[in-house]
Amino acid sequence: MSTSTSTTAPTGAPTPAPEDTHAPAAAPGVVKNPWLVVTTREVVVKLTDRNFIVSTLVTLALIIVGVGASAYFGNRTADHTVAVVSTEATAVVDASQAIVGADDSGDTVTAQEVADEDAARQAVRDGDADAALLDTGEGWVIVGDEEVDSGLAGALTDTLAASVLEANATEAGTTTAELMAGSEVTTELLTGDEGQAGLRYAAGTIFAFLFYFSAIIFGMAIANSVLEEKQNRVVEILATAIPVRQLLYGKVLGNSILAFGQIAIYAIVALVAVNITGVASDLGWLLGASGWFIVFFVGGFTALAAVWAVLGSLASRSEDLQSNTGPITTVIMAALFVGLLADGMWLTIASYVPIVSSVAMPIRVLDGSVPVWEPLVSLAVTVVTAYLLLRLGEKVYQRAVMQGGTALTWRQALKLEV
């Protein structure tokens, strides 16, 4: 339509400032993808928010420190010194090295010969030795100061038992090997292997808490961002420029991207740290489950996002948010506890309930043996729910966000005229 120049301004115009000689750029009026502009603002505002940056960095630091600490404690080597009086004891201690060092931990055990029993006890008391191994004539005693390292005690006991057994066997005209024949027991796990069970549980717990915190933190961010616009009446200006539902889409998308991005960064940093420190080798199984977790997180979060936006639009002051977000917080909490506690059939059912499935299904995937169609079907349920909630949310949001005054309920808002 009209483009404007001020070069032919009629007389009587106030003297324009020198730089005012160019025309104001005429706007085409209708922005092509308003939701994209809104999304970009949501993301940029958050990424330049000092609180957000600091809290993200602090969390990353905690992750790195956590992984580093477990690597440090896991890899710390222990060098045991055992005070002995007799050569038999020395032999036992030396033989126990085989057991102590068997787990690749680098632990060592050395015998320190002393004059007599009293000297041995004194060495333990003074801390010169970690333990003393003494022959009482009827048996053996391991002397510790306050406690005896359980690994060391176990190794010494096993070695002693073996050597005594060996001696007794020789006396009886046989060998240990003959006596022990057929008694060997090994463990066979049908799914997974030992050592991963603990990690699985840890990973499940981490998934559950990550979902809990991110869903609430970013959910509140959406609600507050909607409320900010409502409270400051910016929304009235925005509504004349773009359809209100585009505003909703932009906010939901922007905050979902932020939540997803933050989770992904945490996950990447954690996995890299775990790999570098070698805390857990062979993390392929974890990667797969983490991938599902992120996909389900996005689905579950998007389903909730529209609800958060509606809650923001229903409130009239930030105090209202504290009361009207109760139910949604409960749902998120349910997802957390299901992730931590549910088992068997309950977990299977939970893994199909939208939002709760965001935690439950990845945990089932962690356990392995879930056919790939199961997470896909569950994801489809979540996506459909997200869509329905977004459409309902759109209706409530459009009405409520223009309504100043008191806090509203969903029902009241739906009765309002647009």
Binding site: M1, V31, V44, V234, I237, T240
Partner: protein
């Protein structure tokens, strides 16, 4: 330079809230390049009318026309709007949020930022572009708000109480900005309580009371409405005028009187009789808008 020729029309606009009719069959036109003042007491329906024009409130009756056809969302997106309750993002830098608002109205990011910078500089806020809105004084926040409504070279302006809270210097710079837009043929509708300001700025006037239009028209039309009044002075006493035919005395105060004259030749006859009585003043009175406003809303 293409001069804009579209006018903004409101026809039989009606809106109810429950049992209360807030805006009742309101019709007026904001001509291109003309500044139209929208006056009325609190609760007269000004804000409701403006919100309906901007599509923020649903219309219950009547219609809004732009350029002779029913207005669309795309038309409104090119309008500049300043709502009654001010509002922008308190915690965002002023240039950033103006750029955002410009983008939402279809400007490129670069154009929006350049235009916002230019206008903020004109308002003396050139060194505060990165400051958060909430750190500005109320007057300066108001300047940012105005910038938000003018940034995208709007095709029409709907401004609800745009001058409230502005000091005289800021009013002048805002008027300058508005004049720039008026010269390009942009119709401007603004509401105000400050009748002196409306008097100074407006080409035409719409007076609203209880949701109904009491008067509408150009300043000249409104001023020439009703009987012409004159101020007459015949010392020591103007009381004799009460008995003159064709003369309606509005007020007598000693030697001075305010009159309305009826009928052909009354003025000549009156002067003839007044001169021997020592006529010292005979002045046609031009009513101020305040007078008109008082008159029509009485």
């Amino acid at each position: 330079m293409s001069q804009q020729t579209a006018s903004l029309e409101v026809r039989n606009l009606t809106r109810t809230f429950g049992d209360k009719t807030a805006v009742d069959d309101v019709t007026f036109t904001v001509e291109p390049g003309k500044m139209t003042g929208f006056v009325g007491a609190n609760g007269a329906g000004k804000t409701t009318t403006m919100r309906m024009i901007m599509g923020v409130l649903v219309v219950h009756g009547g219609e809004v026309l732009w350029d002779g056809r029913p207005i669309t969302a795309a038309d409104r997106a090119r309008f500049g709007y300043m709502p009654e309750e001010r509002g922008l993002y308190p915690k965002q830098g002023i240039l950033d949020q103006l750029t955002y608002l410009g983008q939402l109205r279809g400007m490129t990011r670069k154009d929006a930022a350049r235009e916002a910078t230019r206008m903020l500089e004109r308002f003396g806020l050139g060194d505060r572009l990165k400051d958060k809105l909430e750190s500005l004084s109320l007057g300066n926040q108001q300047r940012v708000q105005i910038t938000a409504s003018l940034l995208h070279a709007p095709t029409a302006l709907v401004l609800d109480e745009p001058f409230s809270g502005l000091d005289p210097v800021a009013v002048d710079s805002m008027v300058d900005l508005l004049r720039d837009r008026l010269r390009e043929g942009v119709p401007v509708l603004f509401s105000s309580h400050q009748l002196d300001l409306v008097e100074r700025l407006c080409d035409s006037l719409v007076v609203l009371s209880d949701g109904k239009i009491m008067a509408a028209g150009t300043r000249e039309e409104l001023k020439s409405r009703g009987p012409r009044r004159y101020r007459v002075a015949t010392p020591p006493d103007a009381g004799w005028l009460r008995d003159e035919p064709g003369v309606r005395v509005v007020d007598v105060d000693g030697a001075h009187a305010v009159l309305e004259l009826e009928g052909e030749g009354t003025q000549a006859r009156l002067l003839e009789r007044a001169v021997p009585r020592g006529l010292t003043e005979f002045t046609p009175l031009v009513p101020s808008l305040t007078d008109i406003y008082r008159e029509v809303t009485r």
